[in-house]
Symmetry: C2
Subunit: 218 residues, 2 copies
């Protein structure tokens, strides 16, 4: 029975890592739609979110079955509940990609991001994408040290957000209110994607070490 | 054993409703800090969030104990897992109140919200507060019809957000970039608080009827 449970749990975490890959592609594609002002890609991200939602439902059902049929206790119980939380976070990260894609779509045929702001947005997106990929790797490897590194990467995101606020609130901001509002919301979306990636990684740490994720940066 | 489980479950939902009350007060106070430009109240909301986090941990521990010791299956299992999700949502609503309070604090001694925009922000805040209060009531009453009404109230929030965007993106917006960015982010925070309230209510529906929350507005 025990080894069957372990197998099921391994399968659950493999599915979570695959879902993390789905989310990573959504962030990559949403960012491409944003930076290129590409309505087709934006639509694909928006309609593609149902596939992420479906994966969420499948993983949730698998976790429920595991709880119902195997009745895990102690650490095993916490692991399955952690998986249920991780799946919610991943689904939210998919939603946030949709928000990015919607800003892209709203501004087509223009681009939401003015050329001189592009580097900071590109960097925010790249940090978020790397963190999502990192979280996926940590789900598979259960590498506690890598989770700490991920929390560190989140600091760069905070810095980028501060930079973008300083840019748009400077007296010589040339792009008007609409571009500033877009940039503020985009920064918020990428920041939240990064936050969720850290949170997913922290839940893996919790599963491995039993340490409360609250003591880590959450 | 069964009636003991039911008692514990009732206690869990009572604690969730009480936590919802904590969150409601946080949204009320954050809004007061925002509209009055009051740094003292803003600080209280920001530091007071640790109390909400502590409540979250207590409820989570109680739910884990219930899962470990009582080993519920089927509907009972789903109810406890739903409670675990509701507690996460409530905690996020607390965080969002902190974000509102931080915008208030950032602009002291000024007010973040210009006078002529105040009505729409006040209304967004009131809708959010009413929805949080509604969610708390639904947790206790398990009133499925009230949950549907809550989803309806969320439509007013969407309309208010559209209005605020139309205001700030109008050619004659007189308040500059900073006020627009604040307003966009505030709108996002209140909208998310409202979304979470709907989601909490939907989880109650799920507990009562067994209907998947995915088929409802989420």
């Amino acid at each position: 029975m025990r080894s069957h449970f372990d197998e099921e749990l391994t399968g659950l975490f493999r599915d979570l890592a695959a879902m993390c890959g789905q989310v990573e592609r959504a962030v990559v594609r949403a960012t491409a739609a944003l930076l290129e002002g590409d309505a087709v890609i934006a639509e694909e991200v928006i309609s593609g979110d149902t596939a992420i939602d479906r994966t969420r439902e499948e993983i949730e059902e698998a976790a429920f079955l595991l709880l119902s049929l195997q009745q895990p206790v102690a650490g095993d119980l916490r692991t399955v509940v952690a998986a249920l939380r991780m799946v919610s976070e991943l689904e939210r990260m998919g939603d946030l990609s949709v928000h990015v894609a919607k800003i892209a779509r709203l501004r087509v045929p223009e681009r939401a991001v003015p050329d001189d702001v592009r580097p900071v947005v590109e960097r925010m997106a790249q940090v978020a994408i790397d963190m999502v990929a990192g979280a996926g790797g940590i789900i598979l490897s259960r590498d506690v040290a890598a989770a700490a590194a991920l929390a560190k990467a989140d600091e760069e995101m905070d810095g980028l957000r501060r930079t973008s606020f300083a840019d748009m609130l400077a007296a010589d901001w040339p792009h008007g209110v609409e571009a500033a509002v877009d940039l503020a919301l985009l920064g918020r979306y990428y920041e939240r994607i990064a936050d969720h990636a850290v949170s997913v990684a922290n839940r893996v740490v919790f599963v491995v070490t039993g340490a409360s994720p609250y003591s880590l940066s959450e």
